[in-house]
Every structure is written in structure tokens, then in C-alpha cells.
């Protein structure tokens, strides 16, 4: 069946970007919003239609989902063997991502109508959002590594534009630069990895690269460098790019700062879609990781485990609600990375892969909901700080109910979505290594604690004196909240194991109660502790804080990672390397150029008297020259 219309899914957003970006200042702001919503709405319809047809109609051949490439024209043609294509690749993960991206985008676009109302640069906001959705959709349907890299950078650019949306605010400008530079640094690894890999395998194509019985799997396995095969190095470098985008430790520093952007942006880019690009990248190349480079996969697992624990501890101490959610995102992304890292290829061993994709799917729903709920709260009380909030459940009933659903989902309480995916991840971790399981089990408890600390602190607790009574968000904001809450509550019941697996064959999944019951218990414990500490006003939080002492201070200051980076860049790189280079440039290279200019100037000054302005002098010089030349020629001719 023909899927070539899928190219319009991203292209519609490109048109929306061009129209709202170029003509946005000429039309009424609301019109540009509706243009973008119409574009994403059509894309959403097409994506859902594609998913329905792919998963339930034509995708499955002999029990396994096929890769369909409806379009793959050559984009850059260098030579017979080296050419770069731009096309559409449909397989279970890309189709799933299409649905996730367009759904969350649609919700965020509608929500922004209310949230961004009356803001300066409303059309610019929708133009940047459209650019983002376009690049993200282009990224997931990429047929080759290079196309992915191009859209990868476009995604980074639109993220930069949206974080710096309030460009007259210095902190937003600093945050956007930080996000761009940190991810760009990681992308350098990605680029080197792409070059290494294409050098080894001679292709960029995902289809050739991820064929488990293809020749790409064995190439580069012989040559070793620093104890790992070259192929492993290539994959680890590519993973570095993914870790930068997905805010994995130690490249996570940009994500909390990125919360300077408008809240709908945080929901779309920094929670549901862009930050999972790194997970998607690893999943896309998963057969290579699993078959050609198991060491690389182990690194993925370690990074995921460290990130999830690290972020969960920090999240327990923060007071800015968006930052809590940012660290929670990082922690959940760590879960997904870990699940990929502990997975094997095919059959029961591939449970982690399926669990990771499942968690990506459910996390997109409930994390977008959490951010949009946080946006509604910020909209009502005009502050990001938890201390300015409390007792909001009476004022904002819809936000309260949807936020509670999202908190239950992320904490892993059945029957909400997060329970199912987290259960699969914990089982996969337990099968691989009990240490990973212990870490993730602890993180599950911490997650429940910090999410309900946030929930009780905002909606219960002591009521603050508000300047004006907080009001429920407008209709355009509550509708997306309700729709996403429905998604968060029910997404767990999808038969994910039959749809998305590492080897494309259906995988029998069931709830592992021996893992699920303890994880529910620790989540309930976390919720209980949070309830005891924050539901009513008491001095308990302060006493506990004090008993933790300096560990609390460390966590509160995010373990001083930012300060370490500051020290490395400012004191070591700037002072030790950049300053001497700058000196050399100024005093040696520039000085040489200046010297040449000075010599020319001085000589010209000395001989400028020749230009007397007297025609006779010129004529005399001309004639003497002619005579001299004539003499020279005569001498040459006659001798």
C-alpha cells in the first residue's frame, strides 16, 4: 500500500513555519495560531491514520513488522558510492514517534492559545513551534544517519529559539546559549561517530546498518583502540550525541536552565519530544549496539542508571516547580536509557527495548500533562516557586484532578500508564543485573516522593495570601489537560509488546507481580512520606533537612556540577589555552600584518612627491620610459 503521502506530515509544518514566520507580523496574532493548529491537526490525522494502517493492516508480514520506505530520493550526489538521501522510513518506532510527536504538539499548540495570549511575538512563537515540530518529525522518519543528523541540528536550533523566546531577559538568553553549546558539544561526538561508522560500513542507510544478519555488523570488529573495537567507539560517540540531547549525566546541565522558556515549550520540547531524541537514536541503531557492540550498550546502561538516580536526588531538594519537573524528566530519561542498555536483541531478551519504547510513549503523555498543569498553576499565581503556592485545589479543580492523575502515573500506581511501562523496565533490569534493579527500585520510591512533595506542596499545604484569588485556566488550556489526562490514565493498556519490539516479532507481555507489588509498595511509601511532610504545615521538613546536613546542601546545589564546569571552562580552558592563543594572535599574527601595512604606508609617504600633478613631469617620465624600453628592445634584437 502506498504510504508516500507521509512526506506531508513534516512538510505541512514547514509551510506553517514559513507562513507564520514570514507573514506573521501582517496578520492578527490569533490567525497565525490557528494556521499552526490547522497544520499540526492535519499532520496528527495523517499520523494516526498511518499508525492504524501500519500496525493493524499492512505493516505485518509473516508475523514481523516490515520496514517501509515509501520515498527515498537522492538529495546530495557526490559520487557513485557516496550520496545522501532524504526520505521517509516507516517502522514500528518511527510510526509510534509520529503519533507521540503530533499528539503532544497538537495539545501544546491548543494550550498555547490560552497560555501565550497577549504575549509579544505570538506569531514568532508559533513559527518556532512549527519549525520544531517539522524538524522533530523529519528526525524520526529519517532513512539514514545523515538526514537524522541534519534534522537533529534543526531541532537543537528551534529549541534554542524557543528557550530564548523572552530574549530581553538575560537569564533566558544565557539558558538558550547554554543549551545550544552543551548539545552542540555532544553533537560533535555524534558527527565523529557518523563519519567513523560510515567509514567502516560504507553506508549511512539505517536499513543496511540495522540488518541483524547484514555485513555492517561484523565490520570494524577486528580493529581495536584503547580496549574497545572501532565499531564500539563509533557507537559510543554516537551515543554521546544522544546523551547530550537527552540530558544524560554529565551533559544534563542545560535541561534545568532550559525551563526559562515558556512552559508549553518545556512541555513539548524539554519533556515529551526533543529530549527523547537521544533514546530514539539508540533505539534506531539498537541492533548494532546489541550485536556489534555489547560494551557500548553496557555504557548506555550505566549512564542511564547514574542519571536517573542523580536527577531523582536533586529533584527532592528543588523548590522551583519547573525545575523539579526538569530533573524528573532527566530521571525518567535515565530509566529509558537503562532499559535500552540492559536489553538484548530478540525474543524475551529484548524486553528492555520494548519497555523503553513503552515508557517513552507513556512518559510523553504524563510528563506533557505535568508541565501543562504546572503552566496552568504558574499562569494563576504568577510564580515558579513552591513557597508561593499552597491550597490551590479549591481554586483550580480541573488542574488539580489532571495533575493528580499525572503524578499517580509517574509514580507507578496502577492502573495509570506509568505503572505498566515502569514494571517492564524493572523486570528487564532485574534480568540483567541486580544492581541496576536496586538503583531503579530506589529511584521509583524517590520519584513518588518528589512528585507528591510537589503535589501536596502546591495543592494542599498552607494557603498563601494571593494578590487576587487564583482562577481556573481558560478553556483552551483545560481541554488539552483533560485529553492528556485520559491518555495518561489509559495508555498503559495498549498491547505494546505486540507492536514495538527489538526484532519486530510480537512479544508476550504480562505484569510481573513479584516485581510490581514491591514497586507499588515503595511508591506508596514515597507518597506517604510526602503526605506526612507536606500535606499539612509542620516543621518536619526542616528537621529532616537538618539531619541530612551537608548532603542536602550538595543536592540542593545540584552537586555543584555547574560550578565545576564553570571552573573548567573559565580557569582552565579560557585562562590556560584561550588566553595564550589570543595573545599569540594579537602580538604575533596581527603584528606581522600590521608591520607590512606600516612599511607600505611609510614608503608611500616618502615617495608621494612624485605625484606632482604637473602634466609635463608625467609626460617626461612617460617618454623617458618609452625611450628606455626602445633601447632595451634594440639591444636585445641586435645582440
Amino acid at each position: 500500500m502506498d504510504f508516500s503521502y507521509t512526506i506531508w506530515i513534516p512538510l505541512l509544518l514547514l509551510f506553517s513555519f514559513l507562513v507564520t514566520g514570514l507573514l506573521g507580523h501582517k496578520m492578527k496574532p490569533i490567525i497565525s495560531g490557528w494556521i499552526a493548529i490547522a497544520a499540526i491537526g492535519l499532520s496528527w490525522l495523517m499520523s494516526v491514520n498511518t499508525a492504524m494502517r501500519y500496525f493493524f493492516d499492512v505493516g505485518k508480514v509473516d508475523g514481523a513488522y516490515q520496514t517501509i520506505i515509501p520515498l527515498n530520493p537522492v538529495w546530495l550526489n557526490f559520487s557513485e558510492t557516496l550520496h545522501i538521501n532524504m526520505g521517509v522510513l516507516l517502522d514500528p518506532i518511527s510510526v509510534m514517534m509520529l503519533v507521540v510527536i503530533t499528539t503532544v504538539s497538537l495539545m501544546v499548540y491548543i494550550y498555547s492559545l490560552g497560555y501565550m495570549k497577549g504575549e509579544e511575538g505570538f506569531a514568532r512563537f508559533y513559527a518556532s513551534l512549527s519549525l520544531f515540530s517539522f524538524s522533530m518529525l523529519g528526525l524520526v522518519i529519517a532513512t539514514n544517519l545523515f538526514q537524522m543528523y541534519i534534522f537533529w541540528e534543526l531541532v537543537g536550533l528551534s529549541s534554542y529559539l524557543l528557550i530564548g523566546y523572552y530574549y530581553d531577559k538575560p537569564s533566558a538568553v544565557a539558558a538558550s546559549k547554554k543549551a545550544f553549546i552543551v548539545t552542540r558539544f555532544a553533537d560533535l561526538g555524534f558527527l565523529i561517530g557518523i563519519l567513523l561508522m560510515s567509514y567502516l560500513t560504507g553506508t549511512f542507510d539505517f536499513e543496511a546498518l540495522t540488518d541483524p544478519s547484514g555485513s555492517a555488523m561484523t565490520q570494524g570488529a577486528g580493529a581495536a583502540f584503547l580496549g574497545m573495537s572501532v565499531m564500539t567507539w563509533a557507537l559510543v560517540l554516537i551515543f554521546l550525541g544522544g546523551a547530550g540531547k537527552s540530558a544524560m549525566f554529565p551533559l544534563h546541565v542545560w535541561l534545568p536552565d532550559a525551563m526559562e522558556g515558556p512552559t508549553p515549550v518545556s512541555a513539548l520540547i524539554h519533556a515529551a519530544t526533543m529530549v527523547v531524541a537521544g533514546i530514539y537514536l539508540v533505539a534506531r541503531l539498537f541492533p548494532m549496539f546489541a550485536i556489534a557492540a555489547p560494551t557500548g550498550l553496557e555504557i548506555v546502561a550505566i549512564v542511564g542508571a547514574v542519571s536517573s538516580l542523580f536527577a531523582a536526588i536533586i529533584a527532592c531538594t528543588q523548590t522551583d516547580i519547573k525545575r523539579i519537573l526538569a530533573y524528573s524528566t532527566m530521571s525518567q530519561l535515565g530509566y529509558m536509557m537503562l532499559a535500552l542498555g540492559v536489553s538484548g536483541y530478540g525474543g524475551e531478551a529484548g524486553l528492555g527495548y520494548m519497555a523503553s519504547m513503552f515508557h517513552l510513549f507513556t512518559h510523553a503523555m504524563f510528563k506533557a500533562l505535568l508541565f501543562l498543569g504546572a503552566g496552568a498553576i504558574i499562569h494563576a499565581v504568577h510564580s515558579n516557586e513552591m513557597k508561593d503556592m499552597g491550597g490551590l485545589r479549591k481554586y483550580m479543580p480541573i488542574t488539580h484532578a489532571t495533575f493528580l492523575i499525572a503524578c499517580l502515573a509517574i509514580a507507578g500506581i496502577p492502573p495509570f500508564a506509568g505503572f505498566f511501562s515502569k514494571d517492564e523496565i524493572l523486570v528487564a533490569a532485574l534480568h540483567h543485573n541486580v544492581i541496576y534493579f536496586a538503583i531503579e527500585y530506589l529511584v521509583a520510591g524517590l520519584t513518588a516522593f518528589y512528585m507528591f512533595r510537589l503535589y501536596f506542596g502546591v495543592f494542599w499545604g498552607k494557603e498563601q495570601k494571593y494578590h487576587h484569588a487564583p482562577h481556573e485556566a481558560p478553556f483552551s488550556m483545560t481541554v488539552p489537560l483533560i485529553l492528556l489526562a485520559v491518555g495518561s490514565a489509559t495508555a498503559g493498556f495498549l498491547p505494546f509488546g505486540e507492536l514495538v519490539t527489538s526484532d519486530r516479532l510480537a512479544l508476550e507481555t504480562h505484569i510481573h507481580w513479584e516485581v510490581a507489588i514491591p514497586s507499588i509498595l515503595i511508591a506508596l511509601l514515597g507518597i506517604g512520606v510526602a503526605w506526612r511532610m507536606y500535606a499539612k504545615e509542620s516543621d518536619l521538613p526542616d528537621r529532616i533537612t537538618q539531619s541530612f546536613g551537608s548532603f542536602y546542601t550538595w543536592a540542593y546545589n545540584k552537586f555543584y556540577i555547574d560550578e565545576i564546569y564553570q571552573y573548567i571552562t573559565k580557569s582552565i580552558i579560557f585562562k590556560g589555552i584561550s588566553a595564550p592563543i589570543a595573545w599569540f594572535d594579537k602580538k604575533v599574527i596581527d603584528a606581522a600584518m600590521d608591520g607590512i601595512a606600516w612599511i607600505t604606508n611609510t614608503v608611500a609617504d616618502a615617495i608621494k612627491g612624485i605625484q606632482s600633478g604637473q602634466l609635463q613631469h608625467y609626460a617626461f617620465a612617460f617618454v623617458s620610459g618609452a625611450v628606455a624600453l626602445a633601447m632595451v628592445f634594440i639591444y636585445i634584437m641586435t645582440s
Binding site: K608, S612, L615, Q616, A619, F620, V623
Partner: protein, 105 residues
């Protein structure tokens, strides 16, 4: 061909004309006179062309054509030069080159 007058005599005349022109061009201050001097130079060259053609290659015509060509170009050149001189006169009320020495460093 004039009897008793050979190529050498004609070349002496044209050389004299040439250096008279050069001398006038370098020493005279009046622009019109300088223009006349350049005409002398050009015409000395014309004489050379015609003489060489007549005495060395009597069956060919290139020398004649070249001198005709030089005359045509000289006419055009004079028109341009006169126009420049008239404009200079309007701006400086003089055709003396020493008064027209603005274009220096």
C-alpha cells in the same frame, strides 16, 4: 618616387618630426600646443608607415591602410582632447598645464 630621395632621407625627416613633437610635448605649457605636438608625433609615424610600404613592399597595401587608420583615430582623439581642454578652461579660466595641478597626492 622622387629621384635622388631614398628611404633614408624620408626616415630622417620623420625622425626629426618625431623628436620635435616630443620636445614640444615635454616643454610647452599650453595644452593646445601640446595637442599639436602629439599630432606631429602621430604624423611622423604615418610617414614611416607609408615610406616603408612604398620602398620595401611596393606590391602590398597594409602600410597605407594603417596610416589611414591612425588618421581616423587621431581625429577622434582630438575631439576628446578638445572637449577636455574646453572643460578645463571653463573651470580654471586657463589652458596652462601648470595651473591644472589639482590631481596630486
Amino acid at each position: 618616387m622622387i629621384p635622388g630621395v631614398g628611404l633614408t632621407e624620408i626616415l630622417i625627416v620623420s625622425t626629426l618630426m618625431f623628436f620635435l613633437g616630443v620636445y614640444g610635448f615635454v616643454t610647452r605649457k599650453n595644452l593646445i600646443t601640446m595637442l599639436m605636438s602629439t599630432e606631429l608625433i602621430l604624423n611622423s609615424v604615418n610617414i614611416n608607415f607609408v615610406a616603408f610600404n612604398k620602398y620595401l613592399y611596393p606590391d602590398q597595401l597594409q602600410g597605407h591602410f594603417f596610416s589611414l587608420f591612425v588618421i581616423a583615430v587621431a581625429a577622434a582623439e582630438v575631439a576628446v582632447a578638445i572637449a577636455i581642454i574646453i572643460n578645463l578652461y571653463r573651470n580654471f579660466q586657463s589652458v596652462d598645464v601648470e595651473d591644472v595641478a589639482e590631481m596630486k597626492y
